[in-house]
Subunit: 143 residues, 2 copies
DNA sequence: TCTGACCCTGTAGTAAACTACAGGGCAGGA
DNA sequence: TCCTGCCCTGTAGTTTACTACAGGGTCAGA
């Protein structure tokens, strides 16, 4: 009984497209705030949690680690606190995103070029993708 | 002595820009063929191994997993085989990269907007990053 | 009331890709 | 000769992000 407000963990999990265990894991990891419980101990999630989980899923698909995402989430979570650190954090994330985009664009260019060059129906000996990967065109270092 | 035959593991590692332990790890994982040994058991790598390690490093930098790379390497080993799978692998990576770039650009826009428009004391409900990213997308799926 | 799906906690296992010893052997210069 | 630095094997630990039980309680429909 009581307020039938909110979703069960299974419901939010389904809506967010992740597993129930994963939802609990995110809670343990501080990505999802512990929701209110029913008298019998069941979690009851507000609709906001579904959005938060979707956010996590999307951010993960973009290559952010859970630690990154935790930080991103604080951008909306700190209401009255000083705006300066929040703003700084946002700036830092923004820079990180721009760097990520730049790195991916570089990869895209290289790979795209290679795919264009390789006809696809030739023997591997004539496929420049493999040659290109073998070339030592630069020095050690990277992500 | 005309040591001319090959590099030590430390030498290949340095040349490839990776650690000695990583080289042995790649050998265990079947990415690098076991090199000949000296009488005392030291590995002696041919120059080809350096190129192979460079191949691995480059492919990794482009987002290929070690499993992908193992496949690429076996494909490369058969010069008469069709390059179709190679191309497909590269194409798949490319598609992934393009999608990531698109999503990151969206995120960049949202975050940039947030930094510009949220002076800090605005209620968090008015900071739309979470909503915007929560909608960014599609159905549940993959990684 | 019963049944089966769902929820709880807590612990442990998995996968990828390393990374770090421990305990010993060799090589080459002072 | 000795010392230092590199090499060997084998095992175990690390990080990230889950995923899988075990053992038990709860809820809603037939």
């Amino acid at each position: 009984m009581t307020a039938t407000q909110g979703f069960t963990i299974g419901q939010v999990a389904r809506q967010a497209g992740i597993g129930v265990e994963t939802v609990r894991y995110y809670e343990r990891e501080g990505l999802l705030p512990p929701p209110p419980r029913s008298a019998s101990g069941y979690r009851h999630y507000p609709a906001d949690s579904v959005r938060r989980l979707a956010f996590i899923r999307h951010a993960k698909a973009l290559g952010f680690s859970l630690a990154d995402i935790r930080e991103l989430l604080t951008l909306r979570a700190e209401p009255g606190a000083s705006s300066v650190p929040v703003r700084q954090l946002a700036q830092a994330r923004l820079t990180e995103i721009r760097e990520k985009i730049a790195a991916l664009e570089k990869m895209q260019q290289i790979l795209g070029h290679l795919v264009d060059e390789c006809p696809g129906h030739v023997p591997t000996a004539e496929c420049p993708i493999l040659d290109a990967l073998a070339e030592t065109g630069d020095r050690p270092d990277n992500t």
